[in-house]
């Protein structure tokens, strides 16, 4: 990449009932972030906001976000997609040389304000699928899970184990809204079916929250922190919308996104070179599908990974030590939360969930039904 760009600091909040207005949530979060770095809003040269009109329930969602994030009379723009795209856009703005500092901030209130499954209904093809009511977020995800299980011989117990690991990891994450320190596959099995094989505990919990981070170009980043986290590569790619024309057991677009990011980052063997990954999975089965597409594990190995604990905190490739989307899914801002969790890991601030010696991390974000659109960012403690 033509300049070195780093993440300087991050802040996040998650709740199952935030209890304060969105504007106030954003002000408290961003103000706190500025204070922690010792800067003011005037030190930020470009603000990249991240939210969705249907989640906020407002036309032009960013209108009332501007002043709470400190963007009054400042350069500001807005990405209406998962937060990972917003972070990518902020990175591009810095890479251009036009700016040296950026704030990225995303928010969503799926627990208090909007209904996540309904907002997903609005994504359906309005001329066909939305008219019929057959497809929705849960039925499509269930079909994806079935496709993966059928293709690779993975069973429900193994998916339940994957969910249980995430719930255990979430117990180590102070921000998580749902967790269980001693969760087992049996706990997941005991929760109700929504659509087979999806059980309640294998699905994301409705979550309110926000995530903010400060990005800066090389010199400025080193001035602002002694622990910059460098953005080494990024990419995104998109599959067709039509789930009847995709092999749901694999993710072509996650794979392509990874290839783009790895090329920039000089990663040739992700399973070896990446120390920790934060994958955006709304449902337990999506984690192996995406992890495999990103080359973190062998294709179709989700059952084995679950049985042998390979993705556990102490495993060969820790995935979502934060608990991931099963510990809290701040809808549109979720990709930002994944990046923020990688930053915590690489700055050595992940507490009990710390992956020791983590130097290279991968963050992933998704949009659409069955993760139609995927984005990846590779982060590292090493510059250049």
């Amino acid at each position: 990449m033509q300049r070195d760009i780093a993440i300087v600091a991050q802040a996040q909040i998650m709740s199952d009932a935030i209890g304060i207005p969105r504007e106030r949530m954003l002000f408290d979060l961003v103000k706190g972030l500025f204070d922690s770095v010792g800067i003011t809003r005037h030190d930020i040269e470009t603000f990249v906001l991240n939210s969705n009109d249907f989640e906020v329930g407002h036309t032009i969602a960013n209108v009332f976000e501007d002043t709470p994030v400190g963007a009054y009379m400042k350069d500001e723009t807005h990405v209406e997609a998962d937060g990972l795209w917003a972070a990518q856009y902020a990175t591009m703005r810095l890479l251009s040389g036009n700016y040296d500092t950026a704030l990225v901030v995303g928010d969503s209130s799926g627990a208090s304000t909007f209904r996540p499954y309904l907002v997903m209904d609005y994504q359906l093809n309005p001329t066909h699928d939305r008219q019929l009511g057959i497809l929705n977020e849960l039925s499509t995800a269930a079909l994806q899970a079935k496709a993966y299980m059928a293709k690779y011989g993975v069973d429900e117990d193994q998916l339940n184990k994957t969910a249980a690991r995430l719930l255990r990891n979430a117990a180590l994450n102070p921000n998580a809204v749902r967790s269980k320190a001693d969760a087992t596959g049996g706990d997941v099995l005991a929760s109700d079916y929504l659509y087979e094989p999806l059980r309640e505990l294998a699905c994301y919990p409705f979550t309110d929250g926000a995530c903010a981070m400060i990005l800066a170009s090389g010199k400025r980043a080193r001035e602002l922190t002694d622990k910059p986290v460098w953005i080494k590569g990024m990419g995104n790619s998109v599959d067709t919308y039509y789930i009847g024309e995709r092999d749901l057991a694999v993710s072509g677009s996650a794979k392509a996104a990874g290839v783009r990011a790895y090329k920039l980052a000089g990663i040739t063997d992700p399973a070896k070179q990446i120390d920790v990954a934060e994958v955006s999975a709304k449902f337990a089965h999506q984690e192996p599908i995406i992890s495999e597409a990103l080359g973190l594990f062998e294709e179709g190995s989700g059952g084995k990974v679950a049985d042998e604990g390979l993705a556990d905190l102490g495993g060969s490739m820790p995935v979502c030590p934060s608990g991931g989307g099963l510990g809290g899914y701040v809808f549109t801002a979720n990709g930002l939360v994944r990046i923020a969790e990688c930053v915590r890991q690489l700055q050595g601030g992940a507490g009990k969930a710390q992956v020791s010696g983590a130097r290279t991390a991968l963050a992933h974000g998704q949009d659409g039904f069955c993760a139609q659109h995927n984005a990846v960012m590779v982060l590292s403690t090493e510059e250049g």
């Binding site: 249907f54 032009i60 009054y72 990405v79 907002v119 995104n236 067709t240 783009r260």
Partner: protein
Amino acid sequence: MRNVGIIGVGYTPVFVSKRKDVNIAEMVSEAVDAAYRNTKLTPDDIEAITFGNMQTFEGVNMPHLWAVDHMRALNKPYMRIATGGTTGMSTLHSAYYHVASGLHDVVMAITWEKQSEGDSQVGLSGIVMPEAMVMVQHGMDLFGGKGMGAMGGGSTGAAAYQATSYLHHSGASPEHIDKMAALERSNAALNPYAHLRKKTSVADIQATPFISWPLRFGHTCPTSDGATVVILASEDKVEKLADSVAWINGVGCACSDPATGNFIEGQITDPAEQEPAKLASAKAYAMAGIKDPAKEIDMAEMYNGFAHQSLMWLEKLRLCKEGEAHKMLDAGALNIDGELPTNASGGVFSTNAIGASAMNRPAECALQIMRKIEGGHQIPKKIKNAVSHGWGGMFQYVTVTVLGDEPRHG
């Protein structure tokens, strides 16, 4: 910094009030087709795509995902941008940064709206719905106008306040609004991609009733169905791929607080102040190396949902001194063959597919620079530098793009 140029533009064949023959994806695909046809490029040449519209105007969440096949975006990097009325230009800026970042060389920006599928008044009211609700809970007299906080301004909303404030501070008269309206409608009559295409006199405008003084029906924009697509390329690729180019030499954007409507948080101030227009244009001019815009800029495309705004923006963007725009209008300087042709296309005021509206401004500048205007509104003089402007959010957000016939230096 890398230089980035616009190498092609594609419009839907028409901008009209209702495209009953096609669905959203089909309509937008027509503009994608046109961009390919006009540049002789194919989807294989495009490395990444940015996409923008105002999704509550059609009630489709993330329409870029459903429409991905029609956008020819499969397996490509793809980014959705939305900033309200400015979405078009914000989407262009995103494409610009895709190239300026060094990550991509050829990028397509797709912007559109199919306003006939929804109700634009409803879409716009969605901006303040919950705040208005809380005000009603506190006794706001929504329609009777008693007490504090009722909006007023009828269906023009706060634009009428903006017009009054502008007229007061500039010394322009309401007749200048009529005159600007007639000029732009007549320009639109020459533009095959304009929606309202009828040569219009000042008397025609003055024959329309007032909605909210000083604004008449004849001062307001239509709602349109249509799409605009632009292809951008890096300096290296321009030579290989394009026979003509308009360089994006400066970009800027800025926001204030919602100057109208958000009564709850005490954010109402002068809707005609528009400080963000000054900030965003200053940034874009500086990037483009433009020191005296009034002298160096050869044409302007201003975002004008209402006819008074063209005049107001010329002043905010320092294309003339404050209070001088209406004098330029009187002197004929804003005509297509004038000193500073302004909205030769007819402006948003004549064509408003809202997600594309702020894209049509730089697209028109690019076509003027490349001398590829179809129809009769080609500006006769050579265009070296052009400025385009987008306005949106809740009266508080501005984008600016400066284009040139030569790339910026340094």
